[in-house]
C-alpha cells in the first residue's frame, strides 16, 4: 500500500506540472468571471459570461481602457463556495485582480470573506470583488468589506422599494407570502411582514409559508392553501423551478391573484407564466427591463439578442458594473484595484437601463439606482418591441421607484486600508 501512496504522490507531481500557473500572455486588463459554467447552475452562469464578453468586445473595439484590451476569463465554480475559492486562487495566480461573481449568496459570502482576508494577508496585491447578483444584506452590512462592491439591490433595498410601491396600491387587502425555506426566503418574508406592518397596517398577512428549496414537484396543495386564505396578492422570493411550478399550479387551479416577485423574469419564468395564462398578474421588481422607453439601452439590447439568440437574457447591472469600473480606472489612470477602488466610492452614474442617475454609496459599497415594477403580458408592438422567450408576451412598465425611495440604512462599519 505504501507503494500506492508514493505512487499517488508521484502522480501528483506529474499533475502538478499542469497546475503551475501559466506565464502571463500579454498586457491586458484581466477580469475573472467566477460563476457556474457547467451543471445545473450553468444556465444562469453562462448568461453573465456571454454578456461580459459582449461588453468587452464592444469596449475593445473602441480601443479598450487605458490603451489596454479587456480580457474576460471564465472560471467554473460549479456553484460551490469551496470550488469558488480554488478558482479565485487560480485567477489570482493568472494575474487577475478583478473578480466578478454573482450567483449564490453562499458563493458571494465566501468570495467576499476570501478577498478581504487575502488582501490583509498579502498586502500590495489587492484583489477586488465586483458583485452583480448576490443580494444577501449581510454582505453590505455586518460582513461588509472595502474590497467588495455590489451592483444589485440587496433584499432590504428591494423590499423597501416593493413595499413603497405596495403602499400606493389601495386595492391590496390580503397578502400571502410563500418563500423557499432558506435564508433568502426568510429574509424576504420577515422584511416584508415588518415593512408592511409599518407602511400599510391595514393590510392583512393571511399566510406566511415556507417550502423546501427545489424539492417540491406539485404546488397544488400550496395553491389550495392560498385560495382558502382569500388572499388577493402573493409576494414570493421564489426563483427558477420553484417559481415556474408555483405559477403553473396557480394557472391550473384558476387562482386569480397578483404576484409580486423578484425573479419571474429569470429563465423559464416567462414561459411558465404564458403557459399558466396569467396575463398582467405577475409583477417583477428589477433595475431595468427591455421595454423601458430608453433608446440607447434598446439599441444595445437589440444587438445583444441578435448575437445570443438562444439565451437572450441579460443583466442591466452588468453594464452598470463594467461602465463604472472602467470609468474609475480612467479617473485613477490605473487598473490596480488599490488605486481605482477609491474612485468608485460615491461615484454617480447614469444607469444603463434608463439613463437616470444612481450612485455607489461610500458607507457600504452598495449601488443605488431607480428600480422598476414591470408586469408580464401582451404587448403593444409599436412601443414595446421586446417579448420574452418567444412567448409573444413581454414585461411592461407598472411603476418606477426613484432612487430616493430605495434608500435603506446600513449597519456597515467599513474597515479601510490605511
Amino acid at each position: 500500500m505504501a507503494k500506492a501512496f508514493v505512487l499517488g504522490a508521484v502522480m501528483l507531481c506529474g499533475l502538478g506540472a499542469g497546475i503551475v500557473a501559466p506565464a502571463l500572455a500579454e498586457d491586458t486588463i484581466k477580469i475573472g468571471y467566477v460563476d457556474p459554467l457547467s451543471g445545473g447552475g450553468a444556465s444562469i452562469g453562462q448568461i453573465g459570461l456571454n454578456q461580459l464578453k459582449f461588453i468587452a468586445d464592444d469596449v475593445n473595439g473602441k480601443g479598450g481602457v487605458l490603451g489596454k484590451k479587456i480580457e474576460i476569463i471564465g472560471y467554473d465554480n460549479k456553484l460551490s463556495p469551496q470550488v469558488t475559492l480554488v478558482q479565485v486562487q487560480k485567477a489570482i495566480d493568472e494575474g487577475v485582480q478583478i473578480i466578478v461573481q454573482g450567483n449564490g449568496s453562499s458563493v458571494g459570502a465566501a468570495v467576499e470573506s476570501f478577498v478581504t482576508k487575502y488582501n490583509e494577508r498579502n498586502p500590495g496585491k489587492a484583489v477586488v470583488y465586483l458583485n452583480y447578483a448576490a443580494i444577501d444584506p449581510s454582505m453590505t452590512n455586518q460582513n461588509c468589506s472595502y474590497w467588495h462592491f455590489s451592483w444589485d439591490a440587496n433584499v432590504d433595498i428591494k423590499l423597501e422599494a416593493l413595499t413603497n410601491f405596495m403602499k400606493t396600491k389601495k386595492d391590496i387587502k390580503k397578502v400571502y407570502l410563500i418563500d423557499q425555506d432558506y435564508s433568502f426566503g426568510h429574509s424576504v418574508a420577515d422584511t416584508t411582514v415588518a415593512m408592511l406592518k409599518e407602511k400599510r397596517p391595514d393590510i392583512q398577512i393571511v399566510g406566511n409559508e415556507f417550502h423546501p428549496l427545489v424539492k417540491v414537484t406539485d404546488f397544488s396543495p400550496y395553491i389550495a392553501k392560498i385560495k382558502a386564505s382569500g388572499a388577493d396578492t402573493v409576494v414570493t422570493g421564489n426563483w427558477g423551478q420553484d417559481l415556474a411550478l408555483l405559477v403553473k399550479a396557480a394557472g391550473d387551479a384558476g387562482l386569480k391573484v397578483n404576484w409580486y416577485t423578484f425573479y419571474a423574469g429569470g429563465s423559464g419564468g416567462p414561459t411558465a407564466i404564458k403557459q399558466a395564462n396569467l396575463p398582467d398578474q405577475v409583477y417583477q421588481l428589477t433595475e431595468g427591463f427591455n421595454n423601458l422607453p430608453y433608446k440607447p439601452a434598446q439599441e444595445v439590447v437589440r444587438a445583444y439578442i441578435a448575437r445570443y439568440k438562444s439565451e437572450p437574457i441579460y443583466y442591466p447591472r452588468l453594464f452598470n458594473l463594467t461602465g463604472m469600473v472602467f470609468e474609475a480606472m480612467k479617473e485613477a489612470n490605473s487598473a490596480d484595484p488599490a488605486k481605482f477602488a477609491p474612485k468608485l466610492e460615491g461615484m454617480k452614474y447614469a444607469t444603463f437601463a434608463s439613463g437616470q442617475e444612481g450612485f455607489m454609496r461610500k458607507d457600504d459599497h452598495q449601488f443605488f439606482q431607480p428600480l422598476y415594477m414591470s408586469v408580464f403580458g401582451a404587448l403593444d408592438a409599436a412601443s414595446q418591441p421586446f417579448d420574452e422567450e418567444s412567448t409573444g408576451w413581454g414585461w411592461k412598465m407598472a411603476a418606477e421607484i426613484p432612487t430616493k425611495d430605495t434608500l435603506y440604512p446600513t449597519t456597515c462599519k467599513m474597515k479601510r486600508p490605511n
Binding site: K3, G8, V86, Q89
Partner: protein
C-alpha cells in the same frame, strides 16, 4: 497494495508470514519517502493555485479513504458519506468561532479533533440506524439520511448558517509554535500533516483483527456470524470509524476554506467521493488515494479546458466500471507480477500499440463533443474554434468527417489492439508463473 486479494496468479508458495518485522526500511521506507515528498512538494509547486489544489487533494484523500473503509473494506455502498464530512466541518467552524471569541486557547492544529469527534458521534448515531441492514437496503437508508440531513441543513438556519453558510477566520486562534496559519503554505503543511497521520491510521486499521474481519464481512457476512462475529456490529464499528475520518476531512475543509455551507453535506459531495474511490480502485488501500488526486485535479483543471467536463467525467467513470472495475490501482496491480518477474518489457509495446488508436478515438469523440458544444451552448460565439490548437469551423463538414473517422477507425483499431495487448499480458504472465513453478 500488498493485501490485494483479487485473483492473484498462482506462484509457488512464498514463505509463510513470520510475524517478525521485515527490515525497518521495508516497513517505514515508503512512509518516510511519502513524508519527505509531502514536505518538499510546495518547494516544487509553489504557486497559490498549486498550494490550494494540493491542500484540497490532501483532505480529499482522507475523505476518499474514509469512504473506502465502507465500500472497499466492509462492502457497504453508502450514498451519504458527505453527511459526516459536512457535520465535521460545521462543528469545526463553530468551534473555531467559539475559540476565537473567548474559549480555551486551543491551537488550530488541534481542531481536526473536533471534526473527528463530530464525525464519530454522528457515525454512531446514524450507524445505529443504518447498519442494521446491509446491501441495497443499507444503500437506500444512507440515501435517505443524506437527503434528510442536507434538507434539514437549509431549514435549521441558525446552526448551518442558511445559504451563505458559516464563515470563520483561522488566524484568530491561538498561534501554534508561532504559526498563525494565515498563508496557504502553512495551511498546506497542517493539512498534509493530518493527511499523513490519518492515512497511516487508516492503513494500520486494515492490519488489525478488526480490519480483517471487515474484509470477511465484505466477502461473506453470513459466514462471519458462524466464526463468532456479529456482522451487524462489525458494520456499525466500521461505519462509525469511517465517520470519524470523514469528520477529520471535513474539519480540514473548514480550516482551509474558512467557510462551510449546506452544499458540503449534499448528494453532490457524496457522489464525488464514490467517483474518487471507484475510479482509483476500491479493491486496494491505495486506490482511493489515486482517485482522490486524479478526480480533484480533473475538477480543478478540466473545467478550464472544456465546459462539457461532466460528460468526459461520466464517460470515464462508465469506462472504468465496464472495463476496469478494480480501478486504476487494480490495473496497476495487475502489472505487478510482470514487474516482479521482469516481464514487463514484453507487454509494453502491445500497450503502446493499443494506446495510439485509443487516443485517436478519444480525440475523435472529444472533437465531436466540442464542436457540438460550440454549435449549441456557445452559438453566440460563432462557429470558429480551435481544437488541440488547430483552428477549425464547427459548421464545416471536414472536421466532422475527421472526428467520425478518428472515432470509428481509432475505436476499431483499439479493440483489435486491446485484444493483442491482453494476449501479450496473458503470455507474459504465463512465463512468470511457469518460471515460478519450476523454481
Amino acid at each position: 497494495m500488498s493485501e490485494r486479494t483479487g485473483a492473484a496468479p498462482a506462484f509457488a508458495a512464498p514463505p509463510l508470514p513470520t510475524g517478525r518485522g521485515a527490515g525497518f526500511l521495508a516497513i517505514f521506507g515508503p512512509w518516510i519517502a511519502a513524508a519527505v515528498l509531502l514536505a518538499v512538494l510546495p518547494q516544487v509547486l509553489s504557486s497559490g493555485l498549486a498550494l490550494s489544489t494540493l491542500s484540497l487533494m490532501g483532505m480529499m484523500i482522507i475523505f476518499a479513504l474514509s469512504y473506502n473503509m465502507l465500500l472497499g473494506q466492509t462492502g457497504l455502498l453508502s450514498f451519504g458519506q458527505a453527511v459526516f464530512f459536512g457535520l465535521g466541518g460545521f462543528l469545526t467552524v463553530h468551534a473555531m468561532n467559539a475559540f476565537t471569541a473567548d474559549g480555551p486557547p486551543l491551537p488550530l492544529v488541534a481542531l481536526p479533533l473536533v471534526g473527528a469527534a463530530a464525525g464519530l458521534f454522528f457515525g454512531i448515531v446514524f450507524g445505529a440506524v443504518s447498519t442494521r441492514r446491509a446491501g441495497t437496503t443499507f444503500a437506500m437508508i444512507t440515501l435517505g439520511i443524506g437527503e434528510l440531513v442536507s434538507s434539514s441543513a437549509l431549514i435549521l438556519r441558525h446552526f448551518f448558517g442558511g445559504e451563505e453558510g458559516v464563515s470563520t477566520d483561522r488566524t484568530g486562534l491561538a498561534p501554534f509554535l508561532g504559526l498563525t496559519f494565515g498563508s496557504q503554505l502553512q495551511v498546506y503543511y497542517l493539512i498534509s500533516g493530518w493527511c499523513f497521520v490519518s492515512v497511516a491510521a487508516m492503513y494500520a486499521l486494515t492490519r488489525t483483527p478488526f480490519g480483517r474481519i471487515c474484509n470477511a464481512v465484505r466477502d461473506n457476512p453470513h459466514r462471519v456470524a458462524f466464526i463468532g462475529y456479529d456482522p451487524q456490529r462489525v458494520r456499525f464499528l466500521s461505519f462509525s470509524l469511517s465517520g470519524l475520518f470523514a469528520g477529520i476531512a471535513g474539519a480540514l475543509a473548514a480550516i482551509n476554506f474558512e467557510i462551510m455551507n449546506a452544499g458540503q453535506l449534499g448528494a453532490t459531495q457524496s457522489g464525488t467521493v464514490i467517483l474518487m474511490a471507484f475510479i482509483g480502485g476500491v479493491g486496494s488501500f491505495g486506490g482511493p488515494i489515486i482517485g482522490a488526486i486524479l478526480v480533484t485535479y480533473l475538477q480543478v483543471a478540466l473545467s478550464d479546458i472544456t465546459d462539457a467536463w461532466q460528460l468526459y467525467f461520466g464517460l470515464l467513470f462508465i469506462a472504468m466500471v465496464m472495463f476496469a472495475p478494480d480501478g486504476i490501482a487494480g490495473l496497476l496491480a495487475r502489472q505487478q507480477p510482470l514487474l516482479r518477474g521482469r516481464q514487463l518489457h514484453r507487454v509494453l509495446p502491445a500497450y503502446a500499440l493499443a494506446l495510439v488508436p485509443g487516443l485517436a478515438a478519444v480525440a475523435g469523440l472529444s472533437l465531436a463533443v466540442e464542436m457540438t458544444n460550440r454549435l449549441t451552448v456557445h452559438a453566440g460565439d460563432g462557429p470558429a474554434m480551435s481544437f488541440l490548437h488547430v483552428p477549425l469551423r464547427a459548421d464545416a463538414i471536414v472536421p466532422w468527417l475527421v472526428a467520425a473517422i478518428l472515432f470509428a477507425g481509432g475505436g476499431w483499431l483499439f479493440l483489435r489492439a486491446a485484444g493483442v495487448a491482453r494476449q501479450a499480458y496473458d503470455e507474459a504472465l504465463a512465463v512468470v508463473q511457469g518460471r515460478g513453478r519450476t523454481s
